[in-house]
C-alpha cells in the first residue's frame, strides 16, 4: 500500500505540468489541415420576427464556403430539456422547440439566426456583416412578473410565458398556510437572487471533423460531459448515429455548469464539416459568451419563516419566480425545482415546508445550473430570513440556528422538504466555527474598524446541500429523462500499470491526480503507474460527466466498484498461481497471499499472468484483466457547513471589504486535502462574487448591459482575502464506498448569505435601519441603502 500518495494524501497535481508549461490542449488549440472557421450572425434585438434572410451577397464574399440559416435545420430536432416538470394542476411543462438556428423568430440578443463558414474567422465575420436580415423588432419580454401577466409571448405557439407552476410539496400547502396563520412570529423577506454569468475563462469552442469514407464525425468541444452531448446530438438534434459520432472534450478551461449543456453551435459545426468537407471550428469571443452561455440563478423570491417566541421554526413558505430565459436549456427545469425546493429545510427541523416555483420564459439568454444550481438560491433565502428573524426576536444568530439544527443522533433524517439526509453533525460544525471566529475578540475588532471610520459586521450562515443527484429510479419518477449513474473501466496492462477510463470529466478538479490515489491505495501500487482517461466517448464506457459535485461520489464509486471486480478476478488468477482455492486467498498491500502461509504473489505477476495465460484455467477464467462498473447511488450526498465572514463597510462610499472569511465544511471523507481546499476557495470566490460584485443586467429592451468585463464585475485577487478553511468535522456519507460527499459547490452555496448577513450586521451597528440589500452589494447600492 502506498504510504504516500494514497487516499488522503496532499499529492500535488500531475496535470499541472502541462498547464504550467503551455502544453495543455484546449479545443481552440487544436488545428487541423484545411480547417475552416464558423462565425454566427446573432440577433441584435431581444424579440424579433425574422421576415427574410438574404445571404446572396455574403455568399459571394472572399473565402466563404457555406452559409446556414434556420431553414437548414427545420427538419431536424430541437435541443431538449432533460427534466419534465409537472405543474401543480398536473399539466406537463411547456417545451417549445429550441432549434439549432433561430427560425421564424429571434428570442434573445445573441440568438443565432445564421452562420457563415469561411477560410478564416475574419472572412466569416466580414460575410456575416453582409447577410441582409430583415428582422422586425417586437416588444421585449424581460421582467418576469410582466411576462406572466401579459399576452406578448416569447413562444407564440404555447400562448403563455409560464413554463410551469410547481408546488413542493403540494400536499403540504394547506398545513403550511395554517402554520403561518397561527404562528406567534412570522418573518417575511422579499429578495432577488441575482442573475450570474458563469464566465469560465476559456470561452466555448467546438471543432468538428467529418469522414466521408465511413460517414462518421468527431466533435471536439468544451464540454463537462461529452457522452451527454453525444446522446443529445444523436438522439434528439441531428440524428447522427451514436456509433458514428465521437465527442471529445479535451482540456477544458473551467465550466461551472455552463459547459454541461449541448449548444446549437456544436450541431452547426458538425453539419458544416459535412457540407464543406473540411474541419470547421467556432470559438466564442467573450461577448458571445456573455450573450449565449447559459446564465445562472435569477430568482425573485418571497420567503416567510414562522416561528415561536423562542425562535423555534414552525414553517417555511416560499414563492419564487425563476427565469428560464428564451429557451429551455438541458437542466434548466430541474434547477429551480428539485435542486431548490427540496433543499428548503436547510439544516433544520421544520415541521412543514412549502415552495412554489413559477418558471418564466423571457427574451433573455437561457438560464440553467451554475455552480451550486438551486442550492445557493435555497440557502440564500433560508439563511437571510433566519438572520432577519433572529434580529426581530433578539436571538443571537448562532443560537437561533442551534435551536433548530437537526441533531447528530437524528440521522438519517427525513425532512419536510422531501429529502432524507444520511449523515451530518451541524452542531459540531457550528461549534468549530465559533471556535475559529473568536467572537470574544469581535468587539475589539469592531472598535478598531470604527476608529478608522469603518463599520464592521459579522455574518453567520449554515448550509446543507445535495450532491451527486440520484438515484436513477427516483429521479425518473420525478421527471428526469436521463439516468444519473456513472461508469468506469479499470484496465490493468500486462506489465501491471493501469489505465482507468472514467465518465467524469476533469476541467480543473484534479481527477488525473486524485483518482489514481484511490485505486493505487486499493491495489497497493504506486499511483504514478495509473493513468486516467476521460473526455473521449470513443475511449470510455459511458459517463454522465462532471457537475453537481458528483465526480467522486458517483464516478469515483464506479471506479471503486470496477477495482473491486479487478481484485476479485485477480484473486482467482492468484489462487490458481498459488494452487489454492480463491476463498483462501487474501489481498493486501499489493500482494495475494494464501491465508496463514507465506505463499504470496504480487499484483504485477498476476497481471502478467492474465495477459500471458500459459498454464491458465481458460475454462474458468477469461484472460485479460479489465473490468467495468456502472454505479447508481442510493441517495444524494449531503455536504454541510458553517461559514462566517467579517466585513468592513466604508460609510462614506458604501465600499465593502471582506476582512475574514471562515469556511467549516463537512464534505465527508477527504481524498486529497489540497484539492478539497482549492475547490472551496474557488466556490467561496464565486459566492463572494455573487454577493458583492456580479450581476447580469438586461434593460427593458432586452439588451444585456453587462455584456463584457467592462460592466460585469469579475472577482479579482484584491477582492478576496485568504480563506480560512476547516474540514475536520467529518461525517462520512453512509451509502457510497468512499464515504465522500462532494466539495465543488459548497463554497458557492454557503457564502452569499454569509456576506450579506455580515454587511447588514455592519450597517445595523452603524445605526442604519437596513434589514436587506439585494445582491450584488455594490458600493452604490450599499450607500443608497444607508441614505
Amino acid at each position: 500500500m502506498p504510504k504516500d500518495g494514497g487516499i488522503g494524501a496532499a499529492t500535488t497535481r500531475r496535470e499541472d505540468v502541462r498547464f504550467l508549461t503551455g502544453k495543455g490542449t484546449y479545443t481552440d488549440d487544436i488545428q487541423r489541415f484545411g480547417q475552416a472557421a464558423a462565425v454566427f450572425a446573432r440577433s441584435q434585438v431581444a424579440n424579433g420576427l425574422i421576415k427574410s434572410i438574404d445571404t446572396s451577397a455574403a455568399a459571394a464574399m472572399p473565402g466563404v464556403l457555406a452559409i446556414f440559416t434556420g431553414d437548414d435545420f427545420v427538419d431536424v430536432g430541437g435541443n431538449p430539456a432533460g427534466w419534465l416538470i409537472n405543474s401543480r394542476d398536473g399539466e406537463p411543462m411547456k417545451e417549445p422547440k429550441r432549434p439549432v438556428l433561430a427560425h421564424g423568430k429571434v428570442r434573445h440578443v445573441g440568438d443565432a439566426y445564421a452562420a457563415v463558414i469561411a477560410e478564416t474567422a475574419e472572412q466569416a465575420r466580414d460575410a456575416v456583416e453582409a447577410i441582409e436580415a430583415d428582422i422586425e423588432e417586437l416588444p421585449a419580454i424581460v421582467d418576469m412578473a410582466a411576462a406572466l401577466a401579459g399576452d406578448n409571448y416569447v413562444h407564440d405557439e404555447i400562448e403563455t410565458n409560464q413554463c410551469f407552476d410547481w408546488g413542493w410539496i403540494e400536499d403540504n400547502r394547506a398545513a403550511v398556510d395554517e402554520a403561518i396563520k397561527n404562528a406567534p412570529h412570522v418573518t417575511t423577506l422579499e429578495l432577488v437572487n441575482n442573475r450570474l454569468v458563469p464566465n469560465a475563462v476559456e470561452p466555448r469552442s467546438s471543432m468538428a471533423e467529418y469522414n466521408a469514407s465511413d460517414d462518421s464525425y468527431v466533435l471536439h468541444t468544451t464540454s463537462q460531459n461529452p457522452h451527454l452531448t453525444r446522446l443529445l446530438i444523436s438522439a434528439f438534434v441531428l440524428g447522427i448515429p451514436e456509433n458514428k459520432l465521437t465527442v471529445i472534450a479535451p482540456d477544458v478551461g473551467g465550466g461551472f455548469g455552463s459547459k454541461i449543456y449541448h449548444y446549437g453551435e456544436e450541431a452547426l459545426v458538425l453539419a458544416a464539416a459535412k457540407k464543406v468537407g473540411r474541419p470547421v471550428r467556432w470559438t466564442a469571443d467573450r461577448t458571445e459568451s456573455f450573450l449565449t452561455d447559459a446564465h445562472g440563478r435569477d430568482h425573485v423570491t418571497k420567503i416567510e419563516l414562522a416561528c415561536d417566541k423562542d425562535g423555534k421554526f414552525l414553517a417555511f413558505r416560499t414563492e419564487t419566480m425563476a427565469n428560464v430565459g428564451a429557451y429551455l436549456s438541458n437542466f434548466s427545469t430541474a434547477t429551480p425545482t428539485f435542486l431548490h425546493g427540496t433543499l428548503m429545510a436547510g439544516n433544520y427541523t421544520v415541521p412543514v415546508i412549502y415552495t412554489n416555483v413559477k418558471a418564466v420564459f423571457t427574451n433573455t439568454a437561457p438560464v440553467d445550473a451554475y455552480r451550486g444550481a438551486g442550492r445557493p438560491e435555497a440557502t440564500f433565502s433560508i439563511e437571510r430570513v433566519i438572520d432577519k428573524a433572529a434580529r426581530e426576536l433578539g436571538i443571537d444568530p448562532m443560537e437561533i440556528r442551534r435551536r433548530n439544527f437537526i441533531k447528530a443522533d437524528q440521522f438519517p433524517y427525513a425532512g419536510a422538504a422531501g429529502l432524507e439526509y444520511d449523515s451530518g453533525d451541524y452542531h459540531a460544525l457550528m461549534d468549530k466555527l465559533e471556535q475559529k471566529v473568536d467572537r470574544a475578540g469581535f468587539a475589539a475588532r469592531r472598535a478598531a474598524s470604527e476608529a478608522k471610520g469603518k463599520l464592521r459586521g459579522l455574518g453567520i450562515n449554515t448550509y446543507v446541500e445535495a450532491c451527486g443527484i440520484a438515484p436513477s429510479n427516483l429521479v425518473g419518477v420525478l421527471g428526469s429523462r436521463v439516468g444519473l449513474y456513472d461508469a468506469a473501466t479499470v484496465r490493468v496492462n500486462a506489465t501491471g500499470n493501469l489505465a482507468i477510463m472514467v465518465g467524469a470529466h476533469s476541467h480543473g478538479q484534479g481527477h488525473e491526480t486524485v483518482f489514481p490515489q484511490i485505486v493505487g491505495e486499493m491495489l497497493g501500487i504506486d499511483p504514478a503507474s495509473i493513468e486516467i482517461v476521460h473526455g473521449d466517448t470513443s475511449k470510455i464506457p459511458f459517463g454522465m460527466g462532471t457537475y453537481g459535485s458528483r465526480s467522486l461520489a458517483v464516478c469515483g464509486s464506479a471506479m471503486v466498484r470496477a477495482t473491486e471486480k479487478i481484485i476479485a478476478k485477480a484473486s482467482k488468477i492468484a489462487a490458481h498461481m498459488l494452487e489454492a482455492s480463491a476463498e483462501d486467498v487474501e489481498f493486501a498491500d499489493g500482494a495475494f497471499t494464501v491465508k496463514g502461509t507465506d505463499k504470496s504473489v504480487g499484483f504485477g505477476e498476476v497481471a502478467l499472468k492474465a495477459y500471458i495465460p500459459h498454464e491458465f484455467p481458460i475454462e474458468d477464467i477469461e484472460p485479460g484483466l479489465e473490468e467495468t462498473a456502472f454505479y447508481d447511488p442510493a441517495n444524494f450526498t449531503y455536504p454541510a457547513g458553517a461559514y462566517a465572514c467579517e466585513v468592513e463597510v466604508d460609510p462614506d462610499t458604501g465600499q465593502v471589504s471582506i476582512e475574514r472569511f471562515i469556511a467549516v465544511d463537512d464534505v465527508g471523507n477527504v481524498m486529497n486535502p489540497i484539492i478539497v481546499q482549492g475547490q472551496i476557495h474557488g466556490g467561496v470566490g464565486q459566492g463572494v462574487g455573487q454577493a458583492l460584485l456580479e450581476g447580469a443586467v438586461y434593460d427593458s429592451e432586452g439588451q444585456l448591459l453587462t455584456g463584457s468585463y467592462m460592466d460585469y464585475t469579475m472577482p479579482r485577487a484584491a477582492d478576496l482575502p485568504f480563506v480560512e478553511i476547516d474540514n475536520s468535522c467529518v461525517t462520512p456519507c453512509t451509502h457510497n464506498p468512499l464515504g465522500v460527499k462532494g466539495c465543488g459547490e459548497a463554497g458557492a452555496i454557503g457564502s452569499p448569505a454569509t456576506v450579506v448577513n455580515a454587511v447588514v450586521d455592519a450597517l445595523q451597528s452603524g445605526g442604519k435601519d437596513v434589514t436587506h440589500i439585494d445582491m450584488p452589494l455594490t458600493p452604490g447600492r450599499v450607500w443608497a441603502a444607508m441614505q
Binding site: 498547464f19 503551455g22 484584491a718
Partner: protein, 161 residues
C-alpha cells in the same frame, strides 16, 4: 501583408502578417505556441500575458507588427533549461495555484514580471498586481500563496487550514 521577425523564447522567428494580426494570433496560429490564451476581448482577463522586451503585455492588445524586432517570451519558454519547472511554475504546482489551467500561463507570466521588479512582494502587493489577471477557479488564494512562496517567503502560516 507585412513581413516581421522577432525572437520568441530565444529563437529567431519570422512571418508575414496582416496589419490586424494580433501578437497572440501570430503566436498561436503561426508559431503554434498555443500556451498563450485568449479569454476576453477587452484586455482584462490576462490569459494572454507575455513579455515583450522584458515587459509584461497583453498579447491580445498588441499587433504582431508592433512586435517586429522585439524579444518575446511566452509560457513555453519559462521552464529551466533541463525542462524542469522554474521556481514560479514549481510554486504553482506545490501550492495548487491552478485548477483548469486556462488563466495559468498569464498568471505565471505576470508573476514573473512582478517578482522581477519586486522580489519580495507583500500579499497586498501581489493582489494589487494581479488586477489584470482573472481566474475563475481558485479564488486566487493559492495563486497569491504560490507567488509568495516563489519569492522565498514562508507561507506555512497563511490562513489556518
Amino acid at each position: 501583408m507585412t513581413d516581421i521577425s522577432m525572437t520568441v523564447n530565444g529563437k529567431a522567428v519570422s512571418g508575414s502578417v496582416e496589419g490586424r494580426t494580433l501578437l497572440v494570433d501570430f503566436l498561436r496560429n503561426d508559431l503554434r505556441l498555443t500556451g498563450t490564451h485568449v479569454g476576453c476581448d477587452t484586455s482584462q482577463c490576462g490569459a494572454c500575458v507575455v513579455h515583450v522586451d522584458g515587459l509584461a503585455v497583453k498579447a491580445c492588445t498588441m499587433f504582431a507588427a508592433e512586435a517586429d524586432g522585439a524579444e518575446v517570451a511566452t509560457i513555453e519558454g519559462q521552464a529551466n533549461a533541463d525542462g524542469s519547472l522554474n521556481v514560479i511554475q514549481q510554486a504553482f504546482q506545490d501550492h495548487h495555484g491552478l485548477q483548469c489551467g486556462f488563466c495559468t500561463p498569464g498568471m505565471v507570466m505576470s508573476a514573473a514580471a512582478l517578482l522581477k521588479d519586486n522580489p519580495k512582494p507583500t500579499e497586498a502587493e501581489i493582489r494589487d498586481y494581479l488586477e489584470g489577471n482573472i481566474c475563475r477557479c481558485t479564488g486566487y488564494h493559492n495563486i497569491v500563496k504560490a507567488i509568495m512562496a516563489a519569492s522565498g517567503q514562508d507561507v506555512g502560516a497563511i490562513a489556518a487550514e
